[in-house]
C-alpha cells in the first residue's frame, strides 16, 4: 500500500509533464506537421511491420534449429568455427549487407528481407547455442539417469531451461531488426525510412520525426510483445520475471 502511494506521488507530476509536452507540441504545430503525412505514415508503417515480421520469422525459423544443432555434442568441433562465420556476418555494416543482397537479388522487397534476415540471425543463434551449453551438467546427468533419450532430454530439460536466454536473443534480434528496416528504403524496400531519409534530404524535421517516432514506437511495441511472450512461455521454475 505504501509503495502504491509513493508511486502515485510520482505519477501525478509525470502526467502533468507529459500533458504539458503534448500542449507544447500541439501549439508549435509539430503534430499538425506530422499528421500531414498521415497517409504515408499508415502505408509505410504497414510495410515496416511486414518487413520486420517476415525477415524476423525467417531468422527465428533458421536461427533456433541452427543454434540447437550447433550445441549438440556431435557438432561441437565445428560450432565455434560456424559461430565465427556468423560473427563476421554481423560485423559487416548492415548497409553493406543490403547493398550486397541488392546486387544478388535486385532491388525492392526480397533483397531487403534477405539483408534484414542476415542482420538478425546472429543474436538468435548465439543465444540459443550459449543457453543450451550453459545447462548445468547435473541436470543432464539426472535426466539421463531417469532414462531419458537425448531427444527427450533436449525437449523436456534443455530447451525449457535455456528458454529465457533464447528469448533474450530473439528480443535483441527483433529490436535490431526494427531499427534497421529504415535502411531498406535505400534499396527500394519501403518502410518508414522513406520519411526519415526524405526528411533529412529536404531538411524537413516534421517529416523526419514522423518516420523516426513511428520507428521508435514500433521498436517499443515489439519489445513489449516479446517480453510478454517471455513472461508467458518460459516455465515458471526458471523464469526470473515470474519468480
Amino acid at each position: 500500500m505504501k509503495q502504491l502511494q509513493q508511486s502515485r506521488y510520482f505519477q501525478i507530476p509525470m502526467l502533468i509533464v507529459v500533458f504539458l509536452i503534448g500542449v507544447y507540441l500541439q501549439r508549435s504545430g509539430l503534430i499538425d506537421g506530422m499528421l500531414f503525412y498521415w497517409e504515408d505514415i499508415v502505408y509505410l508503417t504497414k510495410q515496416h511491420i511486414q518487413l520486420t515480421l517476415i525477415s524476423g520469422s525467417i531468422a527465428i525459423a533458421v536461427g533456433l534449429p541452427l543454434g540447437i544443432i550447433l550445441s549438440r555434442p556431435r557438432f561441437l568441433h565445428v560450432s565455434e568455427w560456424a559461430m565465427q562465420v556468423l560473427n563476421v556476418g554481423t560485423t559487416i555494416p548492415t548497409l553493406a549487407i543490403l547493398a550486397l543482397s541488392m546486387s544478388l537479388l535486385g532491388i525492392g522487397f526480397i533483397p531487403s528481407v534477405f539483408g534484414l534476415f542476415i542482420a538478425s540471425l546472429l543474436p538468435i543463434v548465439r543465444n540459443t547455442y550459449t543457453g543450451l551449453l550453459g545447462i548445468p551438467a547435473h541436470l543432464k546427468e539426472s535426466a539421463s539417469g531417469i532414462g531419458m533419450s537425448p531427444a527427450q532430454m533436449l525437449v523436456q530439460v534443455e530447451i525449457p531451461n535455456a528458454a529465457y536466454v533464447i528469448f533474450a536473443g530473439i528480443r535483441t534480434a527483433l529490436a535490431i531488426n526494427v531499427g534497421t528496416v529504415p535502411l531498406a528504403f535505400l534499396i527500394g524496400g519501403g518502410g518508414l525510412g522513406e520519411l526519415i531519409f526524405t526528411g533529412i534530404d529536404l531538411f524537413d524535421t516534421e517529416m523526419m520525426l514522423a518516420g523516426a517516432l513511428m520507428t521508435a514506437l514500433l521498436a517499443i511495441v515489439v519489445d513489449i510483445i516479446i517480453a510478454a511472450c517471455t513472461f508467458l512461455m518460459v516455465p515458471r521454475g526458471v523464469n526470473p520475471t515470474r519468480a
Binding site: 532491388i107 525492392g108 519501403g190 526524405t198 534530404d201 529536404l202 531538411f203 524537413d204
Partner: protein
C-alpha cells in the same frame, strides 16, 4: 579515402601555418548534392580551384535543402545549383518563367541573402520521366499527357522516384495535379536517386524519375516522356557563391564562369555516363575533363 583526404588536408593546413609559407591561401568550401552529376561537379570544382591556388575543402553528398541552408549559414562557400530548384523550392516562385527570366529572377531574389548566382551554363538538367523504349511504344505513350491518360484509363503503371522529388514543391504531387492523374500509393516506389535507373532497366517499375542529363538514358535505351504541358521549368546548372567569399577573392567569379561556359547537356551527359555506365572513378573523370580543356 575521405578520411585520408581529410587527414591530408589537416596536415597540409598545419604545414602551411607553421611554415608561414606563401601568403595564406583562401579557404574555400565546395559543397555538392547526393547524385553523380553533383559529385562530378564538386570534384571538378575542387580540383580546379586547388590548381588555381586556393585551399579547398569539400562537403559532398548532401540533400538539396541541407546544402542550401549550409550555404546560407556560411558552412559551404560554393556549389552548383539549378535555377528551377532555386526558384521553386527556395524562393517559392509559382509563376512560369522562361530560361533567362528565371535566371534573372532567382539572382535578384538570392542577392539580398548574400548568395551570388554566377553565369548559368547551357546544361539544363531538368526532371523527366523515362520509360523503356519498347514498353512506351507498345503502350503508345510519348508525352506525359499520354501517361496521365493511360493511368486514368486503368493501366497499372509503377513509378520509381527518389526520396526528394516525391516530396518537393516542384515534385510529384504538383506534377500529378498538373497532369490530372493520381497513382495509388503502392504504385509509387521511392528509393535512392541512382537506383531508379536500375529499377526501370530491370523491369521492377514501368516509369522512372530521371535527370535529363543522365548518361544512362541513352545507354539503357530509355525514352523521355515529353513534358507537353510545360510543367518543369529550366534547371540551368549554375555556380552559386557566397558574397563574402567573392569580396575576399573577386577573381573566383571569373574562374568559375570559365568552367560554367564549358558545360552543356551533351558534356554533362557524357561525363555522367563515364561514371554510371563505364564505371570510371569520379575524380579521374573530373580531372580528365579539366585537363582536356587546359584548366589545370
Amino acid at each position: 579515402m575521405k578520411l585520408i583526404r581529410k587527414i591530408a588536408s589537416v596536415i597540409s593546413l598545419a604545414a602551411a601555418v607553421t611554415l608561414a609559407g606563401p601568403a595564406a591561401a583562401e579557404k574555400i568550401v565546395v559543397g555538392g548534392k547526393n547524385f553523380t552529376e553533383q559529385q562530378l561537379l564538386t570534384s571538378m570544382t575542387a580540383q580546379y580551384l586547388q590548381a588555381k591556388g586556393y585551399d579547398v575543402d569539400t562537403r559532398a553528398g548532401m540533400g538539396s535543402a541541407v546544402l542550401r541552408s549550409a550555404q546560407e549559414n556560411g558552412q559551404v562557400d560554393v556549389y552548383w545549383e539549378y535555377t528551377g530548384t532555386g526558384l521553386i523550392v527556395y524562393n517559392d516562385v509559382k509563376e512560369k518563367l522562361g530560361r533567362q527570366e528565371g535566371y534573372e529572377r532567382v539572382r535578384e531574389l538570392d542577392k539580398p541573402k548574400g548568395l551570388i548566382w554566377l553565369n548559368p551554363s547551357a546544361a539544363n538538367n531538368t526532371y523527366a520521366l523515362a520509360m523503356q523504349a519498347d514498353e512506351a511504344e507498345e503502350l503508345g505513350i510519348t508525352t506525359l499527357s499520354d501517361l496521365a491518360d493511360a493511368v486514368n484509363g486503368g493501366k497499372e503503371l509503377v513509378l520509381a522516384s527518389n526520396a526528394e522529388w516525391y516530396a518537393r514543391d516542384d515534385g510529384y504531387r504538383p506534377f500529378a495535379k498538373a497532369y490530372g492523374f493520381k497513382l495509388p500509393r503502392d504504385q509509387i516506389k521511392r528509393m535512392d536517386s541512382g537506383l531508379t535507373y536500375t529499377a526501370l532497366k530491370e523491369d521492377e517499375v514501368d516509369i522512372a524519375l530521371v535527370f535529363a542529363t543522365d548518361g544512362r538514358i541513352p545507354a539503357f535505351d530509355f525514352v523521355l516522356l515529353e513534358d507537353d504541358k510545360g510543367f518543369f521549368p529550366d534547371y540551368a546548372i549554375t555556380p552559386v557563391v557566397r558574397e563574402e567569399v567573392l569580396d575576399s577573392s573577386p577573381e573566383l567569379a571569373e574562374q568559375l564562369n570559365q568552367l560554367s561556359d564549358l558545360l552543356d547537356n551533351e558534356v554533362m551527359s557524357s561525363l555522367n555516363a563515364s561514371v554510371d555506365v563505364e564505371k570510371q572513378d569520379i575524380s579521374d573523370v573530373a580531372r580528365n575533363f579539366l585537363e582536356k580543356h587546359g584548366l589545370i
